[in-house]
Symmetry: C2
Subunit: 336 residues, 2 copies
C-alpha cells in the first residue's frame, strides 16, 4: 500500500520494482560518454522511416520491446502502459509504444514525463490496479527542432544557454517487489512553478526553480538531506539550470554539491560535442536512467538515489503569444 | 483497495466517490438542450481574455474553482490534479487548472482524457497515494479549429460527418467513499485501436471501434450486458460514430439500443444548431458528465451507468503525413 508523508510525498510500503529497463539512442548520443551503455543505437535522422515522427515512434517501440525482453515479460502480460513525448498530441507515443496493444494512458509533463510515467506505473502496481506496468518516454532532435524551433535545413545558430534535444527513449517495466532489483520507494508529484521566464532557449533557468521546489518538499517531508543519498539526478537542467538549482537549494539551507548530477550533462561530452548547455528532452533523463543510473544501482555502486525530471510546459503557440513558462518537476526515490 | 477482474477491468473494493463536479460551457452550448444545467456560461470566443488559449485555460480554472467550492474542499487540501486538453503540449491545462498550485500530472488521451483523468484520480485515492484528487478537462471551439482545421476567419465549410468541438470544461473532485454520492466502482483503460481511417473529419467512425473494444472487454470481464445499466454514455461519437458502435456491439452479441446515449448528441439540438454529426472534444463528455449524468444519479433517476470517453490520437503533423488514426476508449462504471 501507499502512505502519505508530510505535505506532498507518498511512500510505497511494498515498493514496486523496476523489473527491467532499456534505452535506445541516436548517433550523436553514441558519441557521448554513455555511448556504449545504450541497449541500441538507431542511426540517421530518419532511422529508415519516412518521417522524423515515425523515427521517434520507432525509438519507443524498440525501447519497450527490449525492456520487455530483459524483464522476461510479454506485452500481453503488461496491464497498463504510461507513455509520453514532446510532440503535439503526444504523437510519438500514440504511434509508438501504444502499438503493443497494452491498455494505454498518455502522459504529458514535457521533459518531466519520464518520472511522471514511472510514478503512475508504481501507483498502479502498488494498488493492484495493475500487476505489471510499463513506462516509456522519448524525444528526437529532428522532430523537436522542427516543431519547437526551426526546420533543420535553415541551419539556425543556437544561443549559448540552449540545450540539445536528445534523440533517445527509455522504457521501464514495473512490477511487484523482487529481491536484488531497484525499487521505487517514494515519490513526489510537483506543482507548477512559473518564475516569469519567457525565453524558450533558456529552459534550464525556467525549470530549476521547479526542481528546487520539489526537492525541498521531499527533503522536508521525509526529514532527509543530500547526505542521505548516493546521487541526486535531475533530468535535463543542463549547465545553466544546474548552477541555479545548486544556488536555490543553498538558499533553502541544503548543500547538494558532490551529490547532484544532471542527465543532460552526463549524456554528452560538452567539449567535443556542440550541445551548448547540455541535453534535454523526455528521452534524455529516461535513457540515462535506464543506461547509467539503474546499472550503477544493480552493481551496488549506488544504493539510494533521487531522480527528478523537470518539464517546461510551453508550446509554440503560448510562446508566440508571449506567455511565461510554467514548469514542473516530479521526483522518485529509488533504492535497491 | 483495487482488484483486477477478467483481462482488463479493475474493481474498486472501496469505491472512491465524486465529492463534487462542475461544468462551464460557451454560448453555443447554452443554446443546446442542457443549456440551463451548466454551472457557468462564459460568453464570447475570447471570454474577456487576450487569446483563445487563455480563454480555454479560464474555462478550466472556473470549472475547478466551482467544483472545489461545491465539494467544500480547498485547493490546498487537494493532493493531486490530473488535467488535460486538446491543445499542443496540453497548454490549456498547463496555464489553466495547474495554476491552483496542486501537484499536477498532465494527461493526454484526446477526447478520452476526461475518463482517463477520473481513473487516475480514483486509483490515487483508492491506493491512498492521495486523499483527494481533482480531474479537469477542457476543449474550446476556437482554439481547436485554429489548431486542427482552419482559422475561423476563413469561413471554411464543414463536411456532414464532422463534429463541432465543444467549448466547455468539466471538473471532478474525487475522495474516499461517502454516503449518497456517486462513486467509481470499476474502470477499464483501453488499448489503441487503428482501423485504418485517415479522415480527420470523420472521427466518430474512427473512434467507434475503440469504444466497442473497451465496452465488450468490460462486459466480458464483469459478465454484464447493457440490461445491467441504466445508461451507457459515450463521450463524443456523434451520430455517425454512435450508429457504428451499435452495429459493432450487435456483431459482438450485445444490444445496447435504448441504453446508449452520446454526450456529443445530448449537448446540442442538431435540428436548430449547425453542428453536423454532434459535439466533440475533451470538454464535451466532461461537461455532460458533470451537468447531466451525475445530477441524474444524485436524483436517483439512474443508479448504475457506464461512461466511455473516446479519443482520436491524431495530430496535424501525422495527418498531413497521411497516417491512419489510432483511437482509444477508457471506461468508468459509476454507481450511487
Amino acid at each position: 500500500m501507499i502512505k502519505r508523508k508530510g505535505k506532498y510525498t507518498f511512500i510505497f510500503s511494498e515498493p514496486p520494482c523496476i523489473k527491467g529497463a532499456a534505452s535506445v539512442a541516436g548517433e550523436e548520443e553514441e558519441k557521448g560518454p554513455l555511448g556504449n551503455k545504450f541497449d541500441k543505437i538507431i542511426y540517421g535522422c530518419h532511422g529508415n522511416q519516412d518521417t522524423f515522427e515515425q523515427a521517434e515512434s520507432l525509438f519507443q517501440k524498440e525501447a519497450l520491446g527490449i525492456a520487455l525482453e530483459k524483464s522476461k515479460v510479454k506485452a500481453e502480460e503488461t496491464d497498463v502502459l504510461f507513455a509520453g513525448d514532446l510532440l503535439n498530441q503526444c504523437a510519438a507515443s500514440s504511434y509508438g509504444a501504444s502499438a503493443f496493444s497494452i491498455p494505454f494512458a498518455g502522459q504529458y509533463g514535457a521533459c518531466s514525463t519520464s518520472a511522471q510515467a514511472i510514478i503512475m506505473g508504481a501507483v498502479f502496481v502498488a494498488s493492484n490496479a495493475a500487476n505489471i506496468a510499463a513506462a516509456v518516454t522519448s524525444s528526437h532532435f529532428c522532430s523537436a527542432e522542427r516543431q519547437f524551433r526551426f526546420p533543420l535545413e535553415y541551419g539556425a545558430v543556437r544561443t549559448p544557454t540552449s540545450q540539445r534535444t536528445v534523440t533517445g527513449a527509455g522504457a521501464f517495466i514495473i512490477g511487484k517487489k523482487e529481491r536484488n532489483l531497484p525499487f521505487v520507494s517514494a515519490a513526489v508529484l510537483g506543482k507548477t512553478v512559473d518564475m516569469g521566464i519567457t525565453d524558450a532557449n533558456n529552459m534550464g533557468a525556467a525549470m530549476a526553480p521547479a526542481a528546487a521546489d520539489t526537492l525541498k518538499t521531499f527533503f522536508e517531508d521525509t526529514n532527509t538531506s543530500a547526505k542521505d543519498f548516493d546521487g541526486i539526478y535531475t533530468g535535463d537542467l543542463g549547465e545553466v539550470g544546474s548552477e541555479i538549482l545548486a544556488k536555490l537549494m543553498k538558499d533553502f539551507g541544503y548543500d547538494i554539491s558532490g551529490k547532484h548530477k544532471d542527465c543532460g550533462m552526463l549524456i554528452y561530452d560538452r567539449v567535443s560535442q556542440d550541445v551548448h548547455s547540455g541535453g534535454s528532452g523526455c528521452g534524455c533523463g529516461a535513457a540515462v536512467l535506464a543506461a547509467h543510473i539503474l546499472p550503477k544501482m544493480l552493481s551496488k555502486e549506488e544504493s539510494r538515489v533521487l531522480y527528478i525530471a523537470t518539464g517546461a510546459l510551453l508550446s509554440t503557440t503560448t510562446g508566440a503569444q508571449g506567455a511565461t513558462i510554467p514548469c514542473v518537476a516530479h521526483l522518485i526515490e529509488l533504492g535497491i
